[in-house]
Amino acid sequence: MLSSDCLWSFSSTASVAARSYSHGKQETDEEFDARWVTYFSKPDIDAWELRKGMNTLIGYDLVPEPKILEAALRACRRLNDLASAIRILEAVKDKSGPHKEIYPYVLQELQPTLNELGIPTPEELGIDKA
């Protein structure tokens, strides 16, 4: 019987298993991350798959790791979709909720990718204010 106390990990951005079985092997954080990075890294990913992936990922009780987000942003680049890339950043900030330190950390980790792809942050565009 696996304990489910790993589902409440507010203090880190580590992702946790999405399902809680009482039997079977529990997926580790690394396996979860790797699975999602692979999903977004598909070279011929289509727009539906990007949307489905992002909406599902945001539905989980966690903030995705920067490496998953990097794969998602690169998928946006392959799909020539700048708007979705910006939206993903907004969603990460929103997903962090009261933990204000997560978003700056994620941006810091993603900075090389943002610079490389020319993706602006919502703050740079001024759309982070209503």
Partner: protein, 169 residues
């Protein structure tokens, strides 16, 4: 003829999803609510469709430019691209409406109005109170209660000083 009516009604985006030919009977009419809809939701950041469906020529050329390097796009162009795909940003969709102020104002207003109604009622609806409320009657009532030694241990009469005929200090 049904087909052309459908084409005019639903426009370009729905064409691929809407036409369903049923064994020689023609095309089924497509209802609006069956088509993918746009909505801004925190829990679903990438909606099924773009917000702007019919692109103007400038928007079309901007979309072409999007296929190249994003670094060469100006800030306004990036914002324009965002607004083509999305109606409201997260900040805009999450901001409060301030509706609560109207609600509280309404509450105070109606409480106040009720107060006016009560005052009017007192003046015009209710008759006089019984004679037992007159001050003289009330005095006699208190005296009677003291004479009867109502609650002499801890209550009413306990507070009366019978020696000095006054309330205890």
């Amino acid at each position: 003829m049904l087909a052309t009516r459908v084409f005019r009604l639903v426009g370009n985006r729905a064409l691929s999803t809407s036409i369903c030919l049923r064994g020689g009977h023609g095309v089924a009419k497509v209802e609006d609510y069956t088509l993918p809809a746009y909505f801004d939701r925190r829990e679903s950041p990438l909606p099924d469709i773009k917000f702007v469906e019919q692109l103007s020529p400038e928007q079309k050329s901007l979309k072409e430019k999007e296929k190249g390097t994003w670094a060469v796009l100006s800030k306004e162009e990036k914002i324009a691209l965002y607004r083509i795909s999305f109606k409201e940003s997260f900040a805009e969709m999450n901001k409060g409406t301030g509706e609560w102020k109207s609600v509280v104002a309404g509450i105070f207003f109606f409480i106040g109005f009720t107060g006016l109604v009560v005052l009017w009622q007192r003046k015009y609806v209710y008759g006089d109170v019984p004679h037992t409320f007159d001050p003289e009657y009330k005095q006699k009532e208190v005296q009677r209660m003291l004479d009867m030694r109502i609650n002499p241990v801890e209550g009413f009469s306990a507070k009366w000083d019978y020696e000095n005929n006054a309330w205890k200090k």
